[in-house]
Symmetry: C2
């Protein structure tokens, strides 16, 4: 095997590994809850409408003005943000650090996949709701438009690696691609992951395909 062969083939391997994918912005998600109608009724009063405070990067998603507390066996997290709109099931997304503060083990799950997850107590002032499930650490993921998915040669549900060039660069493995025409292209990680990669606003990620 001569040197020319090696150069050409390294190029071929790199090309097949998809190193030319376009990059995208990474966002760090803090702890937050999604609420369903019964939980809103119980925490804020029958028929209460949450107040939109700020649009998020994903179209139609927003942060609400109202905040609640998460109460676990060992600790409390106060002033936790509620994201709208309402969902069909309440879901609480925390970091592993947060779960340790609460004193509960939260499994890493994709949003919506809450079967068999632990519950947690939600409080708004003196009003409380004990969820019987829904506490998760969100699995890192990339929201993608159909156009960006095509451009990056990935499909809905595909597992990829993502190189993140923060102050502490790393390559996240086991990142799930979520494609939807309603999405904007952003990667979401939690604050443990953000701290581990030296995330700052504007940090970008690049897909590395797992299969050649």
């Amino acid at each position: 095997m001569n040197d020319l062969d090696v150069t050409a083939l390294v190029k071929e391997v790199v090309s097949r590994l998809g190193a030319k994918s376009s990059d995208f912005e990474v966002e760090a998600s803090g702890r937050h809850v999604h609420l369903d109608r019964p939980t809103i009724d119980a925490l804020f009063g029958e028929g209460y409408q949450l107040t939109k405070a700020k649009d998020l990067s994903q179209p139609g998603q927003y942060a609400c003005k109202e905040r609640i507390s998460l109460v676990g066996p060992k600790g409390v997290l106060r002033n936790v943000i509620i994201l709208g709109p309402e969902r069909n099931a309440a879901q609480v997304e925390v970091s592993a650090t947060d779960a340790m503060v609460l004193g509960t083990k939260a499994p890493v799950r994709e949003s919506g996949d809450i079967t068999g997850t632990p519950g947690v107590l939600l409080m708004n002032g003196a009003k409380a709701v004990q969820l019987d499930k829904g506490l998760i650490v969100a699995k890192r993921h990339v929201h993608m438009t159909e156009e960006d998915a095509a451009a990056n040669n990935v499909v809905q549900g595909e597992i990829v690696q993502v190189r993140v060039e923060g102050q502490r660069p790393l390559i996240f493995d086991d990142v799930v691609i979520r494609v939807n025409p309603k999405f904007a292209t952003f990667m979401h990680i939690d604050y443990d992951e953000a701290n581990a990669c030296g995330f700052v606003k504007g940090t970008r990620g690049t897909i590395i395909k797992k299969t050649v």
Copy 2:
């Protein structure tokens, strides 16, 4: 270029990337301090000798019985462990999450490289010492015996990637190799990094060489 060429060359590339390195145990380091003689004198009394509580994985290093508090502009971290033996300069190692609790920005640095880093207030009961520097987030690193360094084809100071197969697998980039005949081979990450990779006791890492 025929298929045989590709197969042979992928093998060659993978081989040069050092994919066959032996693995090693990863340890998560919680927040801790190293103290120098003047700081021990000020916090515990002239000539006080710290009490060894438990040996650490690195030969000669140990956790002490005594604990102190770290006081920052926004918060306090209590019950912080002191690692022995004494050093020539006090150094406080925290996670980025901890630094946020303290309200101070701590730079990512290698142990001992504390020039220009922020200080922090140390307290033992009513006794206090204001450090003028030494607060860092420890840069992730692999302690290696000379034998393991040779076996993994790495040298002191080399920057490598390390694949960590936790519940949330990832590849840490910008990992520094530290070789010393007094070391035992262990990778050290902080708790943000541990949470980001789904670390549990026994999690192992494998070196990926950065240069072909």
